[in-house]
């Protein structure tokens, strides 16, 4: 036993030495390369003016603001599209997952077709297709489609009523040159929101279906024997037990959704990765920009892991109570 421990320690010391040597060598080579190509390093560029505009931003931003603020605006844009997409995909996915368990053949077939189609085509392709549909196939703003009172859809995006303080709403109206007023969602935002939500919904549906099917059959038989209605059976027996196996993969999928929001770069929505990419091209600080992207996403992942653990504890308690 003593010999084994000694050997383990020696192996680890060797590993650590090899690792440090490799790291030192890499840093050395990198420094030499950067000196040769005249690449500067450091995070000082974050304080300098960004010098580029951002297509749309939740945070007030113009080109004279610092690069750090530009990246913050990018992160805010990532969250602005990810949070609604998380809500939509969870709701839609749950409905489709339940639909796949329906006794109705047509509904089951439709939901299965949805899942099998959306899951088997790359998200990037779906985003590009949605973006093309919105920007090329929809009518011009001057001939916008009216989906509901004061809701207009056109090449320039979707205009919806927006709270304007108090009980008042700022209503979009048809003007001379197109739609004026209300909140306008850009085509980039719309395509990304739509693409992310519909794609993730297919995965959520599979999770929900598998979760409900994981509850032993005897549970529903017992529930029915007790005279519970279908809704009661679902709410009181199946759902609490299913949630335990649904929540961990569900939070994973929503985390993937947030990471997939980085595909925004392909359709020009200014999310964190797009802004960092622009910064990278302007300043040439590749290592710093990539490190920043990775750090932000790692923090988001850790937060999600923590949230997931908290949710699991909560639902665990809920399942015990009901």
């Amino acid at each position: 036993m003593q010999g084994r421990r000694g050997r383990d320690l020696a192996l680890q010391a060797l590993l650590a030495a090899a690792l440090l040597a490799a790291l030192w060598w890499l840093l050395d080579v990198t420094a030499a390369n950067m000196a040769e190509r005249g690449i500067r390093s450091g995070f000082d560029f974050l304080k300098e003016p960004a010098g580029f505009a951002i297509g749309e931003s939740l945070l007030p931003f113009d080109a004279a603001d610092s690069t750090l603020w530009a990246l913050a605006a990018g992160l805010a844009n990532t969250l602005r599209v990810a949070l609604p997409a998380i809500i939509i995909s969870t709701l839609l996915g749950t409905l489709i997952g339940l639909g796949r368990l329906s006794p109705n053949l047509l509904l089951r077939g439709l939901c299965t077709a949805y899942v099998e189609t959306l899951r088997n085509v790359p998200l990037l392709l779906q985003l590009l297709a949605w973006y093309f549909v919105v920007t090329d196939l929809l009518p011009l703003a001057s001939e916008a489609l009216q989906l509901a009172p004061h809701v207009f859809l056109s090449k320039s995006g979707l205009s919806v009523p927006w709270p304007a303080g108090g009980a008042l709403f700022d209503l979009p109206l048809r003007g001379e040159m197109g739609i004026a007023g209300g909140a306008a969602l850009t085509p980039e935002f719309l395509a990304l929101l739509l693409g992310l939500s519909l794609y993730t919904a297919a995965y959520v549906a599979e999770t929900v279906r598998a979760g409900i099917q994981s509850v032993p059959r005897g549970q529903s038989d017992a529930g029915r024997a007790l005279g519970l209605t279908r809704v009661q059976l679902f709410r009181l027996v199946l759902l609490p037990q299913a949630l335990r196996s649904i929540i961990p993969p569900l939070t994973n999928q929503q985390l993937s959704l947030t990471k997939n929001a980085s595909l925004a770069v392909a359709i020009g929505y200014p999310d964190l990765v797009s802004v960092a990419n622009t910064t990278l091209n302007q300043t040439g600080r590749a290592a710093e920009c990539i490190a920043l992207i990775m750090a932000v996403y790692l923090i988001l992942s850790l937060l999600t892991a923590w949230l997931s653990a908290w949710l699991e504890r909560r639902t665990g308690r809920w399942a015990q109570r009901s």
Binding site: A16, N33, Q126, M294
Partner: protein, 348 residues
Amino acid sequence: MNHVTATHAWLRRNLFSDAFSGLTTLLLLAGAFCWLPGLIDWMLLQAVFEPDAAACHAVNHAGACWGVVADKYRFILFGRYPYAEQWRPLLATAMLLLVIATSGLRLMSRAPLLAAWALALPAFLILMGGGIVGLSPVGSDQWGGLPLTLLLATMGMLLALPLAILVALGRQSGLPLLRGLCMLYVELVRGVPLISVLFLASFLFPIILPQGFSIDVLLRVQAGIVLFAAAYLSETIRGGLQAVSGGQHDAAAALGLDRWQAMRWIILPQALRAVIPSIMNSAVSVFKDTSLVTVVSLYELTGSLALALAGDAEWRSFYLEGYLFIGLIYWIGCYAMSCFSRTLESGK
């Protein structure tokens, strides 16, 4: 009379089991009557199938313009590969697909299958790259379309799998330092989006490698895909290793196998077999993820479609048909893989 009742019973059970189900059936049928004729009209009846841009514009999106596919399919499938030499990527793709299908359908036993792979991969690269046996050299910057998608996905999986096994074993190691390193790698990669890994491969690898040791962008991006896929796969395999019961370790030890022999002959085969469906899921993901390399200027299917249409004013307004075409290619690939995984799951 008998099968009228049988039909009636079937209808009752599947479409009208209760009021809600009946209402759903009626609503869905009404929806189908509203939408299906229009869809069929667009896809087939009013569609233009000839590569005739004028005819496509005349229809003005009332019907699909499949002509864009008829006109551009060679560019979409093979990218910027020299036109006269495109039989080479065609042959290479067909050969690789054949080997993949043969493996999936288990038409060969193990030894000839391994030999087929060992021949097919170098043959693929020789056909694509040329430079020997009388084939003119074609730089990897000119590779594109379906062969590039297949290459990135296949090599991605083939190289990621052994790496993932090593990392999964590393996470079970008795050495805390090794365990920590493996965990760090897995959590780091799984925490970030693939695009950032591709940026890393495309922008950063050239800076951290010694001068004069430049590797081309295709290889760097391939390395990025392998590193990314291996992190996810290693978690899958770790799950498989944990699923193998402790008795197996004990039995192997009782037979006098040492730790490595036990791992090689007893534990790993069972662990891998247990997670084949998840491995296939990863394969589907890798296949779909290859579309992202467009972002770092490699023109696989998605990228070559954009290349084919972006510069062409005649066809530029028919992207949707192009997207549907390559979407179908991706769909067939992914669906075939998930079907294969399902036959394994049901134990056939």
